[in-house]
């Protein structure tokens, strides 16, 4: 038996708002299953349970703000299920289909759902995606008055849009996060980083001829949905290099540095409305390129529209930032505590490079490393960057 706690989703997070329960007392849960949605400065985050068992009691009602570490629910063997919560618990709890968060981002065909749902609605808690709930709150709309168009009757974001608002003036929050709150979060994490972590910086220029040629040939015969972006090669090359240099992959806490077995590679994602979030691609080292690309697209989509998981928010063991087409030559990152390395990829562009005895115009990229000097030295950092270079020269092996 254990308590399910309000998680810490960032070094500076002191409290979070429980937005929604996805389970009810009596429900069986599996380790890793998303059972609650928590609102933070990074938007609404899906929180997983770390133990398999039965939800015995929910201690906290939706829309309640509680400090990090507060018990939200009890998970146990199922012998002490407490269902008599005021108004919330139905007489006969039945397992509820998990609301797919993907339903938010994926355009769903609008379907006429027969009006057979009202009776169900009285019995079962209104089913809605986190994004839909969030939007409904922003608009001041009551979910009970909305018919979901998802199979199963769940309400998704598009069901909310166009619903008359109760509030006269809508305070617009882009993509589900509060810009000012996110700014504060970034400020707190980066200030702590610069205060506590003695960074050292290295950079090197890498010939991208091989990687670009390989990628061009690979993508030539692929439909757009199966194409791979250079960012995926960068992530994979970085993950492979981190496998070889574990001193750059892990967390530094009061007890010192603990390397991580897994490579949960954070990816800095720019949010259009102004903001930055670096969720992790879990076990990036084990993913084949096409799979890694699919997961990366999914991660970016969820970072922008909601549905990131707690393990993705707090689990990164090192982070990559890639500036892309609109960037500049070189980026020197700031390490995200408690991590110890930030790997930067500048813009890939044509540059004069010495190739053999001649000067050639080649695609090239500047790769940088910001690393924690408490854990390793520049010598190791240089070997690490050269390892990434070596991987990018053999893209077919990534």
């Amino acid at each position: 038996m254990s308590d399910f706690l309000m998680p810490s989703l960032g070094a500076d997070m002191e409290a979070g708002t429980l937005v929604e329960w996805l389970v009810m007392p009596g429900d069986k849960v599996d380790k890793g299953q998303v059972i609650a949605v928590v609102e933070t400065s990074k938007g609404a985050i899906d929180v997983e349970v770390f133990e398999s068992g039965v939800v015995e009691e929910l201690y906290v009602d939706p829309d309640t703000r509680v400090p990090v570490g507060t018990s939200l629910a009890r998970i146990g063997s199922g012998e002490q299920v407490v269902t008599e919560r005021p108004e919330a618990a139905p007489p006969e709890p039945e397992p509820e289909p998990q609301v797919e968060t993907e339903a938010v981002a994926e355009p769903l065909p609008l379907r006429e759902v027969p009006e057979a749902r009202p009776r169900d609605k009285e019995r079962v808690r209104t089913r809605a995606s986190p994004a839909a709930r969030r939007r409904a709150r922003e608009l001041g709309v009551d979910l009970a008055g909305i018919t979901g168009n998802c199979p199963g009757g769940a309400i998704v974001l598009r069901d909310i849009e166009g619903t008359p608002s109760r509030k006269s003036k809508l305070v617009r929050r882009a993509a589900g996060f509060d810009r000012d709150e996110m700014r504060k979060t970034i400020a707190a994490a980066m200030s702590r980083s610069k205060r506590e972590i003695p960074h050292y910086y290295l950079a090197t220029t890498v010939d991208m001829h091989a990687a670009e040629s390989w990628l061009e040939a690979y993508n030539r015969d692929q439909a757009p949905e199966s194409r791979i972006l250079m960012a995926a090669l960068f992530m994979k090359a970085a993950a492979r290099a981190l496998e070889r240099y574990p001193d750059l992959n892990g967390h530094y806490t009061e007890e010192g540095f603990t390397p991580s077995e897994q490579i949960n590679l954070g990816m800095a994602i720019h949010l259009r409305a102004g903001g930055l979030i670096a969720p992790a691609l879990l076990e990036a080292e084990s993913l084949e390129l096409p799979e890694l690309m699919t997961r990366l697209q999914d991660l970016v989509k969820r970072a922008r529209s909601g549905g990131l998981r707690a393990s993705e928010i707090s689990g990164a063991t090192a982070t990559v930032t890639a500036l892309g087409d609109r960037g500049v030559d070189t980026v020197y990152g700031v390490i995200h505590p408690p991590q110890v390395a930030m790997i930067g990829f500048g813009r890939v562009q044509q540059r004069p490079l010495a190739v053999g005895d001649a000067l050639a115009i080649r695609s090239a990229v500047d790769i940088s490393l910001a690393a924690d000097h408490r854990v390793c030295d520049g010598h190791l950092g240089a070997l690490f960057l050269n390892e990434i270079d070596a991987h990018l020269q053999q893209p077919e092996a990534l």
């Binding site: 355009p107 882009a174 993509a175 061009e216 993508n219 030539r220 439909a223 757009p224 949905e225 194409r227 972006l229 250079m230 960012a231 720019h270 259009r272 409305a273 990366l296 697209q297 970016v300 892309g324 087409d325 609109r326």
Partner: protein
């Protein structure tokens, strides 16, 4: 599918990718990447959506030559399924 249909599809998908863009005042000649801050992942998502809805799979090499909505529509118009 005529040009107007295609334009409607492209704009709808664009607003899904970048909800902050004001579709009503969109300049068809503007460079998408620079004016509207689309990155390579945004562009790929747009191509994927266009492939699904208009049935045209735009090769990477061709896409590299398209910079605006107008150029994209010039490419799609003769190729889109009727």
């Amino acid at each position: 599918m005529n040009r107007e249909d295609l334009r409607a599809i492209v704009l709808e998908e664009l607003s899904t990718i970048a909800p902050d863009i004001d579709i009503d005042s969109l300049d068809d000649q503007a460079r998408l990447r620079d004016e509207y801050d689309l990155d390579s992942m945004d562009a790929l998502n747009l191509l994927t959506a266009v492939h699904k809805r208009a049935g045209v799979s735009i090769p990477e090499a061709d896409y590299a030559r398209m910079h605006s909505i107008s150029e994209l529509l010039d490419y799609l118009e003769p190729r889109a399924a009727r």
